[in-house]
């Protein structure tokens, strides 16, 4: 019996909601209970965006994640805002291209990955979110089932953009294979 509460946070336009939706679908297809809740203030490209995802063996109560087990921070304001909220023993993923400082907490696991630089080197500058996602799945042992990852990806990429399926799989592999 387990419940994992994820908080994705970054700039509007970084694909925060998209990667959250992908992870929720992955959970659904693994037979888990899931919820996905976006922040929906007057968001815009460049503003702050966040998204709560819960993946659980038991029915999801409140869909609001205020104490995340896993924080995916894609910019400095997000790390500043949510670092203290992460539960002790939780994990923080940091896009180290955009966040120059280190995590201050000493009671959490921290994974630094220069996702924005990796994305730009790969000529897919808009997919830093999915590079981090690949790393998250990798750390959680979820990348072992690559077919399952691809099946969940198919759910969030519309048929019209089928060409993006392989591109997303490839960048997730980049995240999966990245070693600090």
């Amino acid at each position: 019996m387990s419940t994992v509460q994820y908080l994705f946070a970054g700039f509007g336009g970084q694909g925060i909601l998209f990667s959250g939706k992908f992870l929720a679908y992955k959970g659904l297809m693994d037979g888990k209970n899931v919820s996905w809740l976006p922040s929906y203030g007057p968001e815009m490209r460049g503003g702050t965006a966040s998204c709560s995802v819960i993946v659980s063996d038991t029915p999801v109560g409140s869909p609001i994640v205020s104490r995340p087990d896993v924080l995916i921070a894609m910019n400095l304001p997000s790390l500043d805002k949510y670092e203290d909220a992460v539960v002790p023993g939780g994990t923080i993923y940091v896009d180290s291209t955009l966040i120059e400082r280190k995590v201050k907490r000493t009671d959490v696991k921290v994974v630094y990955i220069p996702a924005t630089r990796l994305a730009s080197d790969n000529k897919t500058p808009t997919l830093a979110n999915m590079i981090i996602m690949g790393k998250v799945l990798s750390e959680e042992g979820q990348f072992a089932d690559e077919a399952g990852v691809e099946a969940a990806l198919k759910k969030v990429i519309s048929a019209k953009r089928a060409d993006m399926l392989e591109v997303n799989m490839n960048v997730m592999r980049l995240g999966h294979e990245y070693k600090a």
């Binding site: 209970n33 899931v34 996905w36 203030g41 109560g61 409140s62 609001i64």
Partner: protein, 350 residues
């Protein structure tokens, strides 16, 4: 699980309405319910239905009135300030005994307020919502699955009792995604011999009207309507009980507040506190008998709300002085954290 899809609550309402046979949607955009209109704009033209973005909320509700008079299933949706604008039309629907589905995905108020989730339209929804002697059936979903199921149920009840059914959701319910199965029975069609469909010179005219200048006639329509309400109170109440078997403290909460409360109740149970939840699914008719029954054994009641305390008045009426009823709330677009509800429960347990 394979047949489940992830959908936003707003989208689930829209798709369920189509499943229920609704082919006419009139609305005007407002956060946090705009996905309903967006979904209808995409889907309705493909299935021979009507999607119309009206020039205002008032225009939209009057288009609902017109279509309903012809016997077709019809809906509109909005959020708090927009619902206030629709009030006049909702009252006219009641006066003319016309069925309709109105969705309110609530945001903080009063006034233009904010755009974050709220439950502060409880009074407006359950006590009538506009001028005159009438009620709406008020359904309060607490999951995306219920957003879909109660939409279908709302159309069925609206037709059965010739009145407006309101889905009273909030911004969280509208915006969140959860797995949904849309594999459920669509609503049964109901005969509508009163509908304005053309007489073909074969029957007398049907008249749909909310103007009764003779007070004796108007009084009669109100008496008849309230007899119907009594039948609804006897037969259509819906609620969920959670861990109530041995509960000494009873939390009452609906919608998103009930989900936060469940987290807190699980935590309190782990600490050995005997606490349970009554979750009204119909807010009107209110599950007053279930709460009165709980008041025979529970020592304390806590009403958890995203408002300054509106449902608490109905909880107190049902408890009828047998136990104290306290409020645990946030308002203005804020949502109580499970820790706040837990603190209210541990306080009550002292």
């Amino acid at each position: 699980m394979a047949d489940k899809v992830l959908m936003k609550g707003n989208e689930a309402i829209a798709e369920a309405a189509i499943l229920a046979g609704c082919r006419h949607y009139f609305g005007y955009p407002i956060t946090p319910q705009t996905e309903i209109a967006a979904y209808m704009a995409k889907r309705m033209p493909k299935i021979g239905g009507t999607f119309l973005q009206a020039e205002s909320e008032i225009a939209a509700i009057n288009m609902v009135y017109g279509v309903s008079a012809t016997g077709k299933r019809v809906m509109t949706s909005s959020s708090s300030p927009g619902i206030s604008l629709k009030g006049e039309g909702i009252s006219y629907l009641a006066g003319a005994d016309l069925p309709a589905l109105v969705v309110n995905v609530q945001r903080g108020g009063p006034g233009l307020g904010g755009i974050q989730p709220s439950q502060s339209d409880y009074f407006q929804a359950t006590k009538g919502g506009a001028h005159g002697d009438f009620h709406m059936l008020v359904l309060a979903p607490a999951s995306v699955q219920e957003m879909a199921e109660l939409t279908v149920k709302g159309f069925d009840l609206a037709d059965k009792y010739r009145m407006t059914a309101m889905i009273l959701a909030d911004g969280t319910m509208g915006q969140m995604m959860e797995p949904v199965s849309l594999d459920f029975a669509a609503g049964e069609p109901v005969e509508k011999p009163w509908a304005v469909t053309g007489t073909k010179m074969a029957r007398p005219h049907n008249i749909v009207n909310s103007l009764f200048l003779k007070p004796e006639a108007l009084e009669k329509t109100n008496f008849e309507r309230f007899e119907r309400y009594e039948r609804i109170k006897e037969t259509e109440v819906m609620y969920e009980e959670y861990m109530m078997e041995d509960a000494e403290i009873c939390v009452v909460a609906f919608g998103i507040a009930s989900r936060v409360s469940k987290n807190a109740i699980n935590e309190a149970r782990a600490q050995g506190i005997k606490v349970g939840l009554i979750r009204p699914i119909t807010l009107w008719p209110f599950p007053e008998k279930a709460i009165a029954k709980a008041a025979e054994k529970c020592k304390k009641f806590i009403s958890v709300e995203l408002s300054m305390g509106q449902m608490i008045e109905d909880v107190r009426l049902a408890v009828n002085g047998k136990a104290p009823v306290t409020l645990c709330n946030r308002t203005g677009g804020m949502i109580p954290a499970p820790e706040q509800v837990l603190a209210a429960i541990t306080d009550a347990a002292k």
